[in-house]
């Protein structure tokens, strides 16, 4: 998805609860890699669901601002701790 698609998608959806767990960041000068596990809670067709995903974001320092230049989330069967 492009940035504009992500923004449009975010506006369009029903609220979901996202909890970030096990977040880790590694700095490499002007670029920082951030990873962690997302717990995504929501309701679909009247039924609650809980999904997990490993996200990895690349943050870059550009003109004195940190901007996210890429992001990927991989579905996980289970989180680190059973809810």
């Amino acid at each position: 998805m492009t940035k504009s698609e992500v923004l449009a998608d975010t506006r369009a959806v029903s609220p979901v609860e996202i909890v970030v767990d096990s977040s880790v960041a590694h700095s490499h000068g002007n670029v920082v890699m951030v990873t962690g596990i997302l717990h995504l809670k929501g309701v679909k067709s009247g039924k609650p669901y809980l999904q997990y995903g490993r996200y990895m974001d690349t943050w870059l320092r550009k003109q004195n601002h940190w901007v996210c230049v890429s992001s990927m989330t991989t579905p996980m069967k289970k989180g680190p701790v059973d809810d």
Binding site: D9, S14, H28, N30, G42, Q51, M56, V69, S70
Partner: protein, 156 residues
């Protein structure tokens, strides 16, 4: 699954200039960027070759010591864990090759996004995976090293 969930689980986003089919570099990128993109495409192919042949020496040279590596199941590994796992893996990797490789350069950092196909045998069962990947490369000490790698299956 909501569209938000689709974004959160299994979909990546990248700058607009990455998205043209078959495009490697966006308008406005320099000759330097073009040269970096060519070099990183080559490095990516070498990385896939090294994975297939379990060439830890080559992978050791390409991966930064602080690299973070996420498998397509979400497992996070350090460089040393990844290299050790490659040797001990009960997976027979028959073929892993890129289907597409796109590069966007931000001076001393570059994002590589693409698709790869992987075929092999795991626990006596043949498998085929088609995954989208994002590798982040940084220019350190006069050379490009991979500082992070993540992948997710495109097969739902």
């Amino acid at each position: 699954m909501t569209s938000s969930a689709k974004w959160v689980l299994g979909v990546c986003f990248l700058p607009m200039c990455m998205m043209g089919a078959g495009s490697t570099l966006a308008a406005g990128q320099t000759d330097h960027d073009t040269n970096v993109a060519i070099a990183l495409r080559t490095l990516e192919r070498l990385k896939f070759d090294a994975q297939q042949s379990k060439d830890n020496s080559a992978l050791n040279a390409m991966l930064d010591d602080a690299a973070m590596l996420a498998d397509q199941d979400g497992t996070l590994r350090s460089k040393s864990e990844y290299l050790a796992g490659l040797r001990q893996s009960n997976v027979t990797l028959q073929r892993i090759s890129p289907e597409s490789i796109n590069v966007i350069v931000f001076e001393h950092t570059a994002i590589v996004v693409g698709i790869y196909n992987e075929k092999g045998i795991e626990a006596s069962h043949p498998y085929h995976r088609r995954c989208r990947f994002i590798d982040t490369w940084a220019f350190k000490n006069g050379r490009w090293v991979c500082i992070a790698s993540t992948a997710t299956s495109t097969l739902r």
